[in-house]
């Protein structure tokens, strides 16, 4: 698949790297030539330095033969113009990153489609949605639905004293009979493990679990996790993520939002009728205490500074806040932050990449989820008619080391894979795969 990415920094680069690993031909258009040189030396792709709103630059990138055009600059108006131009220059499908969620309204979407912008992605909005989801279901650190909820991925942190700690996968086989869920990967101190039968769970492990619907109660019992009812939420940072999150959360919970900029506070207090908007510095702990930090159930830090977010979350954790979510923009920090105890890390780049991956439909992938803390990915494939994987039972299809089938969806049914499961054409499979084996896995199911 020929993909052109117009970007101006990290989001575009991250996307480019991830997509190259999936065997796509990527061309990156970016105004910063030095950054591009570095990118090109690290990855196998073509880069063009230039302004994406220039038709000549787009022609140089061979836009006429591109299957997917992604414009992910920070400025949404540039993205929209770039996509409109790309579509006029015969790009097959265009996706623009936007910052204003207002454009996502259904009646507006049709208008943009007429203009030539096929899809709109608002990372801030998706991040906010993720925050609200996480605060409504507190057992999992992260979760993601495949095929409209027929399969769900949970990320669970195994605490000290959890019944599964110290047991191997083999010890748990009796549990697997009743629990309609499978552990597909475990993240331990930045390393990703595929849990085979002799794998032993440790405290502090982050386990990726693929589950059938309505299994949360069983999972809770097995892992010894308890749902924490979140009634009071404090959000630090009144940017778009904070604003969108508060907008949804204020309907059911008591929300306090702390923002540094007075002018922005005034705007926020106009829009957020059910939220207490506080003017102050998120690092001012005394002030946070005064506004009830000790009594909040969840602390969400989404300011522009990743460092502030991590530190304020740690502080909140220390003061007994049960749930902390931090926005961390530097992907290198994600592991570290999770190790030191922050419950969930939100990263706009990963979110954008996960979301955009759903547009890369080569007939086989439907949706995918880039996992934070690891560069691995959960991908949903549609099994091809003559795919190698259909020739024998699951145990014998030579699935490479570093990959694991998490679940199978056949029609409206969900099957959790066993050694003797036989795949059929048009099944959907959710596969966990490390980047190194991604292309081999893809070939198996095509």
């Amino acid at each position: 698949m020929n993909i052109i990415i117009a970007g101006d920094g990290e989001v575009g680069f991250h996307l480019a790297k991830s997509l190259t690993e999936l065997d796509h031909s990527i061309t990156v258009v970016d105004p910063h030539s030095e950054l591009l040189q570095r990118l090109e030396s690290e990855t196998d792709l073509l880069t063009i330095a230039g302004d994406s709103t220039s038709p000549q630059v787009l022609k140089d990138a061979d836009v006429a033969n591109c299957d997917l055009f992604l414009s992910v600059l920070h400025d949404e108006s540039i993205n929209l113009i770039t996509c409109i131009l790309a579509k006029k220059l015969k790009a097959k499908r265009t996706v623009a990153r936007i910052t204003n969620a207002e454009l996502l309204q259904p009646n507006h979407r049709d208008m943009f489609r007429d203009l030539g912008v096929d899809e709109l992605v608002c990372p801030e909005r998706i991040a906010a949605k993720e925050i609200t989801n996480l605060l409504n279901h507190t057992v999992a650190t992260e979760f993601f639905d495949f095929s409209g909820g027929l399969l769900t991925m949970y990320l669970l942190r195994l605490e000290d004293g959890s019944p599964v700690v110290g047991k191997s996968v083999e010890d748990l086989t009796h549990v697997y009979r009743t629990m309609q869920a499978r552990v597909v990967a475990v993240l331990r101190s930045g390393e990703t493990y595929i849990p085979h039968s002799d794998f032993v769970f440790h405290a502090g492990d982050l386990a990726y679990v693929i589950s059938k619907p309505n299994q949360l109660d069983v999972i809770k019992e097995v892992t010894g996790k308890r749902e924490v009812a979140i009634k009071n939420v404090m959000i630090a940072g009144g940017g778009r993520i904070g604003r969108y999150a508060a907008l949804t959360l204020q309907k059911e919970k008591k929300v306090t939002l702390v923002e540094e900029n007075l002018k922005r506070c005034e705007d926020l207090s106009t829009v957020l009728s059910g939220t207490l908007v506080v003017h102050g510095d998120a690092t001012d702990i005394e002030m946070l205490k005064q506004e009830g930090l000790m009594n909040t159930d969840a602390f969400v830090s989404v300011t522009n500074s990743s460092e502030t977010n991590v530190l304020t979350c740690l502080n909140a954790k220390k003061l007994g806040v049960r749930r902390t979510i931090a926005l961390v923009e530097n992907t290198g920090f994600i592991n570290l932050s999770q190790d030191i105890g922050i419950d969930t890390i939100i990263n706009k780049k990963l979110i954008t990449a996960s979301y955009i991956a759903r547009f890369i439909v080569k007939g086989d992938t439907v949706s995918s989820k880039w996992l934070s803390g690891t560069n691995a990915e959960l991908i949903e494939f549609i099994v091809g008619k003559r795919a190698p994987a259909t020739r024998s039972v699951l145990a014998d299809i030579n699935l490479p080391e570093g990959a694991m089938v998490g679940g199978i969806i056949r029609g409206r049914d969900t099957i959790l894979p066993a050694r003797d499961t036989q795949l059929k054409a048009n099944d959907k499979v959710v596969v966990f795969a490390l980047p190194s084996v991604m292309s081999r896995v893809a070939r198996l199911f095509e």
């Binding site: 005034e266 207090s269 106009t270 829009v271 207490l276 908007v277 003017h279 102050g280 506004e291």
Partner: protein, 497 residues
Amino acid sequence: MLKVGHIAQMAPLRLYARILGIVFLVLAGAMLPPLLVSLVSLDGTWRAMFASFLLFVLLGYLLRNVLGSQADYDVQGRNSFWITAMVWIVVPLVASIPYLLTGVARGFTDAAFESFSGFTTTGSSVISTPEQLPAGLLLWRSITQWIGGLGFMLIVVVAFRKLKVGSRHLYDAEFSGAMQPKLHPRLAESVNRMLRVYVLMTALMTVLLLLSGNGLLNSFCLSFSTISTGGFMTSSNGLTSMSGMTLFVVAFFMLFSGMNMALLYNILTFRWRAVRGDEFKYYLLVFGISVVVATVALVAAGNGAESFCYSFFHLASTVSTCGFFINRPEHWSFLVSGITFVLMIVGACSGSTGSGLKLKRVMIGVRYVRNYFSKIMHPNAVFSVVVDGERIPLAYIKKVFAFIFLYLCFFAGGAFLLTLGGENIPDAVCFAVSNMGNIGPSPMMNNLGMTIDYAMLSDFSKWTLVVLMLAGRIEIFALLALVSPSYYRLKRELNFR
């Protein structure tokens, strides 16, 4: 030394003259139907009416075409209050002449009171038996309310396309508190649309009243009184003797008249999506709750099913600041008096023909005070006063509080002066509130339990009430500008440098 030229410069007298002239010519036009009626009905007043007509034409011509012939159309913000106040004082004074010439009023004070009460859409009357009024004068009385409901500045804006920027100032001076949603980018066109709403509502109501079996003259008088939220009635016992259908029509149109004109425009042009807003919502909510409570109170006091009909009519008459009354039920509840009193102060929606504090100001005030208390609990928190999803700027909130304070001052001062004029305290308080809110007769009837004849008041009280009516109608600021020394000082400084 002040020279004539300086005076002309200080106040653009030619422009004042021209504006006054236009208004008088409009009055002359408005005099024609009453004149016709008095000719047809042979009530013997046609000479007086014709003389008034001639006077208006003459004054209008003189002011517009002679004195105001070379007017400078540059109205500055600081002149606009002055012009507004001047027109609102001079015109009703001159327009009291028909009452004098026909001999209906017992003196100049009575005539002026009736005239001011009409133009300010108050509806308080010194004529105890309106059914004995000559037909022509009855119509004239109603027409003054209808013109007053529109507002003189609205007429000026329509008549003076040349004013351009100045008309905006004049318009704002008259509707100082309203923060009007503009119906059209051009002010003249917005005003035109409001005018059309006003005429259409009046026509609609007149037709419905005719269909309900009322006479032609009565229908016109009643709809002029209702749509302008005036309140002059054609009978000494209010609307009690009217048919049920008539009362039904009047009640609903009263309720409509208390709404914002822009909203009514959207209703009449079927733009249902635009028919919303906090003020509209609260208007209906306040009205609905009041009706329910009043009904329950009246039923509890021992009345039957008529409790609901009475509550609906009476409270619609109060919230719209119209002021019609019907005979109250046999057993009275003072809870209803209390509700009436509060609603009289609150008044109608901003941008309507009604008066009072205006619901929007009350909303802003309440929300600001609520935020003020929350601020004590959360000193670092930022609160905004939000109406219709928009943040109200602090400058505007200050203006609202200044207005509320002034309203209180005028109310207290007015009540004090009325006691000096010989009224007892409950009467004085009631008179002050109802005339400042441009409501007129109804509250007297309901709160004090009797129809009070304004004719029995002393002259001093009558003039006090005139000032209160005027303050209520042109929203105080314009009136204060007229008497404020600092205002003159400012003008002098700006012009004699």
